[in-house]
Symmetry: C2
Subunit: 160 residues, 2 copies
Amino acid sequence: MAIDPLGPASALAPTGHGVERVDTRYLEGLIGYNARRAALAVIEVFLARMAPYGLRPVDFSILSLITHNPGITARQLCATLGVLPPNMVGMVNRFDGRGLIERRPHPRDRRAHGLHLTSEGLALMIEAERTAEQLEKDVAHKLTLAQQQTLMDLLQKIYL
Amino acid sequence: MAIDPLGPASALAPTGHGVERVDTRYLEGLIGYNARRAALAVIEVFLARMAPYGLRPVDFSILSLITHNPGITARQLCATLGVLPPNMVGMVNRFDGRGLIERRPHPRDRRAHGLHLTSEGLALMIEAERTAEQLEKDVAHKLTLAQQQTLMDLLQKIYL
DNA sequence: TATTGTTATACTCTATAACTATA
DNA sequence: TATAGTTATAGAGTATAACAATA
């Protein structure tokens, strides 16, 4: 596809009038653009709904992985989520300071710690995951359940 | 869906062993997580392929909108892409300084400028959009063309 | 020699307040 | 009174280098 094959707008158009309606068709034909816009739209709702729990998207991802993988190490969280180790330290420290997780000695590596939810952390995550699931319903309300599954399957074919 | 309905991992599991394989099934069932991961995967390739043109994803989006909407204003770019006006200024200035665009007087509003590609900017964008289209083919190589279209349609139902 | 966790730090991205010129 | 563009600045997010303890 070449530059501007889509209708009247053209790089050589006369300059004597403004742009009435912005033509976004080119960008909307790119997977990366659509994925980024959809992610930002979901994140916007996420930030608002998770604010009562003090969880941003990455916080939720980390705590959810600890929830479903008790004993996971910081290094494993980094590898799974694409977070760099120096940036993980502060987040884990904050969860620890909030009493949501605890670091236990790792059974086979004295350099590492196994991360576990506290009972307070578990109580928070039960509510947070419930909120996340309601949020999914709301942001995807235009899609059937089958379409939602199709969407996730196709997205995973991009990034996995 | 409640906490950890997915198999052996549990918040109450014994701590005597590390996590062998990280269980990501819960997160992979969330649309927001999948959209963000896919967007980041595409952006990673984008950054590498567009580096020769000195274009980051938002730069490309802006110049592409100017390409297909000659005379568009900075305010319209902000509204379309979700960029805040103070953050748009520097980008437009850099494009101007690089000789890629020019600001012409707006025909009906003396506060605004109509943004237009220069011939250098057009030459760059022809190459950049060609690169973007090849990039699409590569990151979506596991999907048929029909699946790619389905993916974009479903994503747009989330954010539009 | 490589890896885990960590500190320090720099760079980029995003957000808020306030100003000017014009509508 | 509202809007387009702009400046200054603060905050969040992401990046690299280097170190101690352990593998």
